[in-house]
Amino acid sequence: MLTYETLRLIWWTLLGTLLIGFAVTDGFDLGVATLLPFVARTDPERRVVINTVGPVWEGNQVWFILGGGAIFAAWPPLYAVAFSGFYLAMFLVLCALILRPVAFKFRSKIANPTWRSTWDWVLFIAGLIPALVFGVAFGNVIQGVPFRFDDTLRMTYEGTLFGLLNPFALLCGLVSVSMLVTHGGAYLALKADEPIASRAASYARFSALITLVLFAAAGIWVSVGIRAYSIVGHIVQDGPSNPLLKEVARNGTWLDHYFAQPWIVAAPLLASMAALATIVLLSARRNTLALIASALSVAGVIVTAGLSIFPFLLPSSLDPKSSLTVWDASSSQSTLTIMLVATIIFLPVVVAYTAWVYRVLRGRVTLAYVADNPSSTY
């Protein structure tokens, strides 16, 4: 049996893996939806765009649901604090995620232009809002969030929705939007018919550039403008999951982690180099490689955030000792073990059949295909 400490580390990497799985798969759905009103001008073109993600968005969205479930199972305090703390923001995300399937399903069922263009804007908003909110949430995590535990580990949150919308968090929100737009654009460049593909490629190149600039800006801001958190003294890495058993101080910046562990600079390097590669590959019309590059860039951004604040998962700005860390916010050793076994068995199966489905659906979605299949397409 694995030690508690190792299991916690494994589940920290699995948490990252699931977030990346979500951002890479559902991320291009969100990006495609955000680009919908811009890359497609006629109704047939819009249907092509929607049908590039039509058969796969449902599966992609499960990464998000699984992410939620896995946080619940493996990091219950994180699930409890983050979801109730970001209450109204979560509600917005929920509305967007509920509207999106409905918009997909309902849009093309009625031929009325007003009906369709209404749903197109719904799709745009339902793509934009989650992308923005997830970034904003990350931005707040990096700064710390105002919550505290009492001695029964009941959590109180003392922030508001507008408190979440601070400048640094909004910057992170924009990073998230632009990186997912890039990713969605790269996906359309590969999957959509002309002229949509070329337009999407231009949008993607442009937003990749924006992503680079914003990501660098956020990096500078973190290095000079945000006070980091650190555990005071020694923390028992295989102790009970009770955040109140440690002391936390605020000092230095998260950049200090990069001096202590220089190898973690690989993460932001990956994020930026891959974004650059996306631009180059899209110009060279190497669309498959461009999509892989944008996926790597998305992964790089998420890993950067995770490594920068390690071992913190969610610092508390109100009562630093309440902060959640990898060492004191997990499930019990037996639950982590059971969940690891379940993941080892099922995740490869999921990845295998998902890959098979994408293979069956390979090839561009053309204007002719959508015109010929009015009832089996969206």
Partner: protein, 524 residues
């Protein structure tokens, strides 16, 4: 008191969103299997009409499925949003089946549903059939895991309280999975879904037959629905009994409340068919009873006593007093984690800790609780009797009615008289809403009957909420009501529109594709 507002609003929101979600779930469960059956017939016989049936009912399935998935996301996230202390307190146990549900079931159904719609000309016949069955498998597995999670709330096995982390932790995960309450609930719930799917197909086919439209498709659909529905309706009632039996073992208070049995009766207890429960006087007025029946259903014997509410309240009182010992020890441990004596005392009475927590509704300093407080807390373990009493009876009545309905349908279908009985067809159309009524009432009985507990005997509902302001919960509650009502209108409109247009929607496609099928793999 402000926090009680948050509790009431959170409960209302969870109840409404869960019941709304469950408008879509049973139809998904039932139709997914029916689609698999229809397509299997197509693949075995090669007759085009069965393919058209699969595609037509698939269209309706798709509209319903999207709503089921969308509203399911709310469920998964509401635990954290509105029930943060619950999530902390039992996440170690409750989170695992939810996560496994995602890994094992959601991915399966959601990944293959796309291919179900988009894969007709990209896959071989058998390949597509496999996809359809995988969607059905995914939906049904999802029911299994969520009911394991729910079963644990009703009958929490395989876990114990850990004072260092202030939460319940898994001690035996196989006990959680093999929980008898969960198993009974699973079979009962999926059978109810199969009944819903069958009534849906039956009613809409009846509509076509009444109008003389799509007769061939409607007759065949009705035959499938009648046979599958009859088996499912029998299973719901027989295994509903199983559900009552296990509740008799584990959730005696729920049974006593459903029965409005204020006082313990001499074995075997009688079953009250009609009566007017009175929560204030602790009596059931004007009751009509069937001797022996309850004792037989619940204990499967004639000499085991079914405890009444009075006896269960007395047991709760004893457990509250034992729980106070555990609570006292827990307080001492908070002051000094090394207090070995307190740890021993807590371990000895940990099973009753939840009962002491019931007192928090009456005073914060529960160690100073008076006898009156303890008695009030003991009586607070009685759920609202009248609503349970009536919901249960209507649900059971509907369950019995479905057996008759499908038996008649089955007889008419097998003697080829479906088109010759307009009266039956009219009845079959009119009963369309009833399976939903029965399902919703079933959940109402299960969840309201569990009150005041969110986890039976472990955590009272009023302690499980998040530290939110009532205003914020009110915003989302109103938001959900407006948002969901709009969606429901759009959903029903589209369903009705699709049903009116009928199989013609997939008709031209079918003939065009049947030519393309001659040369598969040609189109990429």
């Amino acid at each position: 008191m402000n926090t009680m507002d948050v509790v009431q609003l959170s409960r209302l929101q969870f109840g409404l969103t869960a019941m709304y979600h469950f408008l879509f779930v049973p139809l998904t469960l039932g139709l997914s299997i029916l689609l698999g059956v229809m397509e299997s017939v197509y693949v075995m016989t090669g007759r085009e009409i069965w393919r058209q049936m699969t595609k037509f009912w698939g269209l309706l399935f798709g509209i319903n499925f999207a709503m089921g998935v969308a509203t399911g996301i709310t469920m998964e996230f509401q635990f954290g949003m509105n029930w943060a202390y619950y999530s902390h307190y039992v996440g170690d146990v409750f989170g695992a089946p939810l996560a496994i549900e995602g890994l094992m079931a959601f991915f399966l159904e959601a990944t293959f549903i796309g291919l179900f719609f988009f894969g007709w000309d990209k896959l071989s016949k058998v390949g597509h059939l496999a996809v359809t069955w995988l969607v059905a498998l995914g939906s049904n597995l999802s029911a299994l895991w969520i009911l394991i999670a729910n079963g644990w709330m009703q009958h929490p096995v395989g876990a114990r309280f850990n004072p260092d982390t202030m939460r319940m932790e898994v001690t035996d995960f196989s006990a959680v999975i093999l929980n008898p309450v969960a198993q009974a609930k699973f079979v009962h719930t999926v059978s109810a879904g199969y009944v819903t799917g069958s009534v849906f197909v039956l009613a809409i086919s009846a509509y076509y037959l009444l109008r003389g439209r799509h007769v061939e498709l409607a007759k065949r659909s009705m035959t499938v629905a009648a046979s599958f529905g009859l088996a499912a309706a029998l299973s719901v009632v027989v295994l509903g009994d199983e559900s009552g039996y296990t509740a008799g073992e584990n959730q005696k208070m729920k049974i006593a409340a459903i029965e409005s049995m204020w006082n313990t009766e001499k074995a075997p207890a009688s079953f009250t068919i009609f009566g007017l429960p009175n929560q204030a006087t602790h009596r059931t007025d004007d009751d009509i009873e069937v001797p022996w029946m309850l004792g037989l259903i619940v204990t499967r014997s004639i000499n085991t006593t079914v405890p009444g509410i009075d006896e269960l309240v007395a047991r709760a009182e004893t457990r509250i007093r034992a729980g106070l010992v555990a609570y006292d020890a827990l307080e001492k441990l908070h002051a000094n984690r090394a207090d070995a004596g307190a740890r021993v005392a807590l371990t000895a009475h940990a099973d009753d800790l939840g009962y002491a927590l019931l007192l928090k509704r009456f005073r914060p300093d529960i160690l100073n609780a008076t006898n009156a407080d303890v008695l009030a807390a003991a009586w607070s373990t009685v759920p609202a009797v009248s609503p349970l009493f009536w919901s249960f009876r209507i649900m059971v009545g509907l369950g019995l009615f479905f057996i008759v309905l499908f038996a008649v349908a089955f007889y008419l279908a097998s003697s080829r008289q479906l088109t010759s009985s307009p009266t039956f067809l009219r009845v079959a159309l009119l009963v369309l809403p009833l399976p939903w009524v029965a399902s919703e009432l079933g959940w109402f009985v299960a969840e309201v009957g569990r009150q005041p507990w969110v986890i039976e005997g472990v955590l009272p509902t009023f302690l499980a909420v998040s530290s939110l302001s009532a205003g914020n919960v009110l915003i989302t509650l109103v938001g959900f009501i407006l948002f969901y009502s709009t969606l429901l209108v759009v959903e029903i409109y589209l369903m009705v529109k699709t049903i009116r247009l009928g199989p013609a929607l997939v008709g031209p496609d079918v003939s065009a594709k049947s030519i393309a099928m001659a040369a598969p793999a040609a189109a990429e």
